[in-house]
């Protein structure tokens, strides 16, 4: 027989003689202990630590096992009882499982619950000693990781969908160009000028559509692929700049743009510029025939602290109710390209920007009356 190290022997004696040693180990390494009388199963001593973990005052408890059986998740209780039966029948089967309890505040507490049966001379279990370890922090981290993973998957899916749509929308005009050029060369061979001119005009139209698409995609990726760089942004100044940039369209349509009192918020300046440029640009573009656009940009407070709402209102053609839900989708368009040019990315970009700033975007609109786009934004970085 190996001789015990003198310190191990000393520790064994210390445990038997000094209760403070046991308390130290129990409190330092465990989150609750229980000791169950299997000969009288209505009796189970539970340590105060076990109750405190569940947010319960130990003084209100009477060492009745029904008290914890009410708080444990019932499907987990079933697993624990099954392991208990098996462990009693065969000491080699471990009583060891992760179970969930309902904390007094309603949250979930994850506990690794281990136990060992104490048997009499005949091997019949007469007591059970159990120990709890709190795994809640670990489990929460695990759940967060899983949620992050899902979010990353969703972002990945969106990226895949985006890549698909871009290839789709670029391949279509390039196919068309090939066909047009084939026809054009036949027309030139035949010295057929009128069709040749038509094919050249169609080629130019197709190339222009490609340009608009590539511009849209570049804008979208430039804004969405860089992390938001939050700084102090004067939205009134950005709105004024935007109006300056859109001056050509404003003059061409006779638009008036009214900029109300806008706040200074913590935001990404480039994204705020893109947001206002798209919304004001749309308000000008989708005007009614011979009705000069009247555009109002305003701010209002919301019920949520530090969250503001910026609205861009127009008197344009409006959006039919049944089509409003789709306008923020990638490459979603409501009109023929020659009626209203565009890539179908502007409002998708606006939504991304709003989400990047802890908010969202919505629209209220009626046909032939106008639309009001409302962007929720956080005033401060979260």
């Amino acid at each position: 027989m190996t001789k015990l190290h003198y310190l191990e022997a000393e520790l064994a004696t210390l445990f038997q003689t000094d209760p403070a040693m046991w308390r130290f180990l129990q409190q330092g390494s465990l989150d609750g202990v229980w000791y169950w009388d299997l000969e009288d199963p209505t009796q189970e001593w539970m340590s105060p630590e076990m109750w405190r973990l569940l947010g319960v005052d130990p003084a209100t408890k009477t060492h009745d096992p029904a008290e914890w059986q009410d708080l444990i998740f019932q499907e987990d209780l079933a697993i624990a009882l099954e392991n208990f039966e098996k462990h009693c029948a065969d000491p080699k089967h471990p009583y060891d499982q992760i179970v969930r309890y309902r904390h007094a505040d309603g949250s979930t507490v994850w506990v690794r619950c281990r136990g060992i049966a104490i048997r009499n001379a005949e091997g019949k279990p007469i007591r059970m000693l159990g120990a709890h370890n709190d795994l809640t922090a670990l489990k929460r981290a695990e759940e967060k990781l899983r949620a992050d993973h899902l979010a990353a998957d969703a972002a990945n899916e969106e990226l895949k969908g985006f890549a698909y749509s871009i290839s789709h929308d670029l391949k279509a005009p390039s196919n068309t160009l090939k066909l047009l050029l084939d026809r054009l060369s036949v027309a030139i061979e035949d010295e057929d000028k009128a069709p040749a001119r038509q094919f050249i005009a169609l080629t130019q139209q197709t190339v222009e559509q490609m340009r608009i698409l590539v511009d849209g995609v570049l804008n979208y990726t430039r804004v969405t692929e860089s992390d938001a760089d939050l700084q102090s942004c004067d939205l009134a100044a950005i709105a004024a700049e935007t109006v300056e940039i859109l001056q050509g369209d404003i003059e061409a349509t006779g638009a008036t743009v009214l900029i109300g009192a806008l706040p200074v918020i913590e935001a990404d300046a480039m994204q705020m510029r893109a947001l206002l440029q798209n919304l004001i640009g749309n308000a000008i573009k989708f005007h009614r025939d011979s009705v000069p656009p009247e555009i109002k940009i305003a701010m209002r407070q919301t019920d949520v602290k530090d969250r503001i709402a910026i609205s861009v209102q127009d008197n344009g053609i409006g959006i039919p109710e049944n089509l409003q839900a789709r306008i923020f989708g990638i490459f979603s368009r409501l009109h023929l390209k020659e009626d209203y040019a565009g890539s179908g990315l502007g409002l998708a970009l606006c939504r991304r920007i709003a989400v990047n700033h802890g908010g969202d975007i919505s629209v209220k609109s009626s046909v032939e009356a106008g639309s009001i786009f409302t962007v929720l934004l956080s005033r401060k970085r979260s």
Binding site: A172, T176, L202, T206
Partner: protein
Amino acid sequence: MTVIAEEIARPIQTVLLIDDEQVDQILYKMVIKDSGLVQNLVSFRYADEALEFLRDPDVPDIDVIFLDINMPRMNGFEFLEAATNELGEAFAKIVVVMLTTSLDPYDVERAKKFAVVKDYIHKPLEKKHLDLVVKLLSEAT
């Protein structure tokens, strides 16, 4: 009788073309005309307008619909769903879905779920696709 002679000569009576792109419309009309296989061509640039046309009880029998997918307002899949729900499977003898790319196999699967979709092609529409429709129509009768 000229009309009958023409009907015999042209194996496809009525084509419905649904595509929002102006340039594609012009090109496909040329392909259809040049093929000499088609008697009548009706075309729409919005799918909801094509659906409105099909709702008319006096609408002629449609041999084939060439259907674009990516369209504003109502896309090709939404059109197929609405037409099947409202008018039953018989709103056309054949629907050929026109895809722009083979990148997304999901679009192909989605198109195949509709019994009326007898084929899908990759844009642009060509003479060989019309030959295929002639073959499908003769198999169907």
